[in-house]
Amino acid sequence: MSQAPMRIRRFIIRTVLILLLIVLGMAMYNIGREYSVLLDNGTVTIDGREYPVIAYGSLIIDGDERKAIDIWEDDRLLQKLVGTSHTLRVLVLDEDDDSAQKTAERKIEMDFDTREWMISLAAIAGESERILIPNPIYIGEQETAPLDDEIQDDADGIPEF
């Protein structure tokens, strides 16, 4: 009965492989997922404490100095972040000589619904424990106006390839 063990062995190998594929799929999902996050710079009060707006500063995402973003008063930046964990470093700069008066860094996990919450830069600068504040507008809808083109009848269109 040499057949049985070989068939069982092969069955196990196949199920393991299929599971591997599923895991790979989930991994791809996590690594490749892109979030559109709103970053707000305005005076905000969280848990009773008020955090002043950053008059002038700079935001570095995931330590990439070259792509630092300037922050002005009452800015609201829309950033596309790929992957689940990121580090945001906020620098409050002196308007005249660009020297960094204050720097604050915060590791964030994209485990919140980016359409309900947005990140407050002021809170990060003020080392607040919670940095998420309710997102007044739903980002998704406005981003691209839905264009309603009906199905193009393939008979008369010149096939483009």
């Binding site: 062995r9 092969r10 190998i13 196949r14 492989l17």
Partner: protein, 541 residues
Amino acid sequence: MTLENVVRTDSPPLLKIDGVGKEYFGNKVLEEVSFTLEAGEILGLVGENGAGKSTLMNILFGMPVIARTGGYTGRIEINGREAAFSSPFDAIDAGIGMVHQEFSLLPGFTVTENILLNRESTKYNPLVEVFGERIRALDRADMTKRAKSAISKLEFHIDSNTVAAEMPVGHKQFTEIAREISRDNTKLLVLDEPTAVLTESEAEILIRALRNLAVKGIAMVFISHRLEEVVDLCDKIVVLRDGRVVREAEPKNTDVYQIASWMVGRKIEGDHSRRVDREDTEPILEVSHLWVDMPGETVRDVSFTVQRGEIFGIGGLAGQGKLGIANGIMGLHPAGGKVVFDGKSIPLNDPAHVLKRDMAFVSEDRRGVGLLLDESIDWNIAFTSMQVQGRFLKSYLGGLIQWRDDEAMRDAADRYIELLEIRCTSHRQRAVELSGGNQQKVCLAKAFVIGPKLLFVSEPTRGIDIGAKKLVLDTLKRVNEEQGMTVVVTSSELEELRAVCDRITIVDSGRVSGIRPANCPAEEFGLLMMGAQDIAAAVER
């Protein structure tokens, strides 16, 4: 050909056929067939067409057609154990190889690939665990080695990586045999007319190779019409006639003529003596140097003349070209040569012209050529004469529109249904629903409707019941006597020809091997069939 027969009485014979019988729809095809075969022994199996040779081999090889038509009686033993194969693969596993007449080689594959088809040697690779056995890589080196060893068994050199399509016919035959014996457990090889398509020299080489195989212990059943080869090669010969073993003999104490007589010699029933001699009437059909390219029935060089009002028979074994003659003259297959009918010569390859000259043809391939299976009986009967002679049509506007006259077609159909006793529900019944015998009667009616001066009839009684056979033959005789219609009957049933015809010509390998009056002894016809022209010629008047 002396092989000292080491008769090992103690161990059971390699193959033992014991009382095997087979029935197809009521008529007995095999009855009480028994013989034994030792390892390394070659058995020659001979017999006329329809004697049951191929049915016996189908039984041995476990072909599904046997089980489908009710199985077989009797026992077959391999090395003493009963062997009932439900499929060819069981037979192959039991060590039986089969080489057919038409090759089943893959044209684009090399000799090695053909020999080891579906038994290629392969190497393991990890993907096998995932995708199963067939993902194993081919081990070309080992395959070539195995193929070479199989070919060497035949002691015949074939380059093992030439592509099958580019090989001469002889080499193809060898490749097929090599494929069968390359299975290491092959003990018994069945060869069905292996030399039929080979030239003399190729046949010689093949026989020498087969003899080598026998010496190496492989038993063989050698089926052939070429009696000299059978006598030359085989250790013992079994003669089959009408499904029964009539004689089993050693080649040492017999000869070609004796075998021929055993194959053919039996009493002829029915009024054998055809009366008046036709010499005085003038010829109606003269055929000279006719060749016809019909697959499986090639006619190479045939000449004969048919007298007016005669029933002229054409006999011969299957595949020797007798059926090609009628098909060639009627223009159904590419043909060449001179054919003169009623004094005027006929262009070949032009069916319409031949039909217009009042020649009709009842084809041997009833379902393929003879009938419109999905149309009704009246259509089938009236169609040819409508198209050729314009009958059964009402023409309007001075012939511009020719309208099908259904009433006339119905009357003609009813007349022949009654005349030929065609059993059917009505003239509207579709031909496919009729029995074999009734279908043949419809084909005859189709020909008679034309009112031909000369009627070709091929295999009139093949696959029809006894009652219909008698009626068909009697009709042919009656039509010949009453209307003086000349009939040319082509048939592989020698008995039937001798009962119906005045003269019979025998065709062997595409040529006429002799013309004899019907009342000539059967053995002589047997000889002509076997291609032993020289002796028969000497006897000719």
